[in-house]
């Protein structure tokens, strides 16, 4: 068990590319933290630096109370699960799981007992004598998990472990990983580009963009109070609606009579609203033209125009709508305002 702390960690590749700008954050003992961002945002680099697979250019990294900047990956007391599982193809599941222990000179009987325990936990007992090539994707993923669990490390690192699985299996493994982490209480860092994984699994999310942290917060905070337009549009599917609005006399106006109070200088402002915070209201004061109705089973998405700006509305499956003009109302408490130049929340 351990807390992790990063102090001004920076990564510059030999070719001069700065993959991670100086970054600091702390992860508490037993916390499940998800690093999320689009590809090339530096999330994997960050994780690999924590694992010790990548040199840290500048900064201080500590796991537990120990500075591990120059500690070999094997001695950092970590375990990592890779995107393509990275199982040893010529070893049986048993040997794959036990290999790390064997290298640490654990007694053979201990290894066997621990491998059995891990296999039982992950429902792998009947597959122990198979080779990875004889397993399905989900089973391989479990073996990779087993290899991490068996060592009883202080820190789990996950590098997009579910992106090679199909949607159904991904959903199932998401729950399994989360449950396992809860049970073992091991501090975990999980890298993904899938915002659904981030939202569902994380205790805390760190949103990264072009090598810098955009926001750190709980899933609820990130979702409802995005710190920037990047976070607003990256997290959530469909993304938050971002509309151009005008601020005047301490109020922000979105065409018509819609306005919220805001202490901002006069001028253009970006008005952010989640699709589910808008509802159809025949008595509402905003006219909206529905262009396309997207049928999603449990709910519908209405894509259309509000004063010439694109807008998406989320309605429940009970609300029947067809294309054409309707009237809507917006939950003004849920509005988030952004500075159009910096993209940061006001």
């Amino acid at each position: 068990m351990a807390q992790v702390s990063l102090k001004n960690i920076r990564k510059v590749y030999p070719n001069g590319y700065e993959a991670v700008v100086p970054t600091s954050f702390n992860i508490a003992d037993g916390e499940f933290v998800v690093l999320v961002g689009p590809s090339g945002c530096g999330k994997s680099t960050l994780l690999r630096m924590i694992a010790g697979l990548e040199d840290i250019t500048v900064g201080e990294l500590s796991i537990g109370d120990r500075n591990v900047n120059h500690v070999d990956p094997a001695d950092r007391d970590i375990a990592m699960v890779f995107q393509n599982y990275a199982l040893y193809p010529h070893m049986t599941v048993r040997k794959n799981i036990g290999y790390g222990l064997k290298n640490r000179k654990t007694a053979a009987s201990d290894i066997e007992a621990k491998v059995q325990d891990a296999a039982k936990m992950l429902n792998l007992t009947e597959f122990l004598d198979r080779k990875p090539s004889q397993l399905s994707g989900g089973q391989r993923q479990r073996v990779a998990m087993g290899r991490a669990v068996v060592r009883d490390p202080a820190l789990f690192l996950f590098d997009e472990p579910l992106s090679n699985l199909d949607a159904k299996l991904r959903h199932q493994m998401r729950i399994e990983i989360k449950a396992l982490q809860r049970r073992l209480g091991v501090t975990s860092i999980y890298v993904t580009h899938d915002q659904v994984e981030a939202m569902t699994m994380a205790d805390r999310i760190i949103v990264l963009n072009t090598g810098r942290i955009e926001q750190i917060g709980t899933p609820t905070e990130i979702y409802h109070r995005p710190a920037s337009t990047f976070v607003a549009s990256f997290m959530g599917a469909p993304p938050m609606n971002l509309l151009n609005a005008e601020s005047a006399d301490g109020r922000v106006h979105l065409g018509g009579d819609m306005s919220v109070a805001a202490s901002t200088a006069d001028g253009p402002v970006i008005w952010g609203i989640r699709p589910e915070d808008i509802e159809i209201d025949p008595t509402g004061d905003i006219p909206f033209t529905v262009d396309i109705v997207e049928e999603l089973g449990a709910h519908r998405l209405l894509h259309g125009q509000l004063n010439g700006q694109d807008l998406t509305i989320h309605v429940s499956k009970d609300v029947v709508v067809s294309a054409g003009p309707i009237r809507i109302s917006i939950n003004l408490d849920a509005v988030v305002l952004f500075n159009p130049e910096t993209g940061l929340a006001l």
Binding site: A51, L53, P73, A74, A79, N84, A86
Partner: protein, 293 residues
């Protein structure tokens, strides 16, 4: 439809191009086979008959006599170079040559691919250009070095100077480069150092590749002629390929050349490479084509 044996085979119209194709193939096969059959025929007759009548279509009864003399009768002065002895020397050369090349090639490729050497690419191309400098080109300096090191007439001298291999290094380098990076990283986190990773992970993964290399290199080593002729002067060190020559040399004077025995030795010399290729064929194809990682 219980009787499946009488299912009529669809007759294809006879095409002249097919006939030509087969004719060419048959001619090619005969071209390769006839000399072998001649060798086989000669081993069954007495030397006298061979020298009198040349190759015949008759199969004689001297096969076992020729076999015994080829395997167990020594020629030369020392009486050390029996067929059996030469067979052993050839096997030692073939296996030592193949294993040596594989070990050196693998280790060189491992260093080139996995370690941050400053001039790895340059080193690789330097190794690669040695393909342009085969032993035959540098035979004199090689001989001098071997002689100065006192390696003449030793197995070490026979094998070691031939071992450095650009081909094996190249094949293993390509193979190692296709091994996923994550495997190295997983092994690092699992606490496997460079040596352990090599032995526990890379070598088992390279199995089929090693088998394929072994076949090529064994046949290559077995057929070495020039170098063994240079470094072995003691008859006890002769290899088969070199020893056969020794037998047919006695043409002058009243001696009848030992055709039966020499051809029998030739036959014995052909067998091991053929057997290796036949038995390891599937590995060979697998090693060079499959990428099961």
């Amino acid at each position: 439809m219980t009787d499946t044996t009488s299912t009529p085979i669809a007759k294809r119209p006879l095409k002249w191009t097919h006939v030509m194709d087969h004719l060419i193939l048959i001619l090619g096969a005969l071209f390769m086979l006839v000399p072998l059959l001649m060798v086989l025929q000669t081993t069954t007759t007495t030397d006298l008959e061979t020298i009198k009548n040349g190759p015949e279509f008759v199969i004689g009864d001297q096969f076992d006599d020729n076999f015994m003399s080829a395997m167990f009768q020594a020629s030369g002065f020392s009486g050390e170079n029996t067929g059996l002895r030469m067979l052993m020397n050839s096997l030692i050369l073939g296996i030592g040559f193949a294993l040596g090349k594989i070990v050196i090639g693998m280790m060189a490729a491992y260093a080139l691919v996995y370690f941050r050497l400053r001039f790895a690419t340059l080193a690789f191309w330097l190794i690669f250009t040695t393909l342009l400098l085969p032993l035959e080109v540098r035979i004199l300096p090689s001989y001098e070095v071997a002689q100065k090191l006192g390696l003449l007439n030793t197995y070490t001298g026979l094998i070691v100077p031939l071992i450095a291999s650009a081909t094996a290094t190249f094949f293993f380098r390509q193979f190692f480069r296709s091994v996923p990076e994550e495997l190295v990283e997983a092994a690092r986190i699992d606490g496997a150092g460079p040596v352990k990773f090599f032995i526990d992970i890379l070598v088992p993964l390279s199995q089929t590749m090693i088998a394929a290399m072994f076949i090529i290199m064994f046949v290559f080593g077995w057929n070495q002629y020039l170098w063994p002729t240079m470094v072995t002067t003691e008859e006890g060190m002769f290899t088969l390929v070199r020893g056969i020559k020794q037998l047919t040399q006695d043409l002058e004077g009243t001696n009848i050349p030992e055709y039966g025995r020499a051809n029998m030795l030739a036959l014995i010399a052909i067998l091991p490479p053929v057997l290796v290729v036949i038995f390891f064929q599937s590995w060979f194809v697998k090693g060079l084509t499959e990428s099961d990682k």
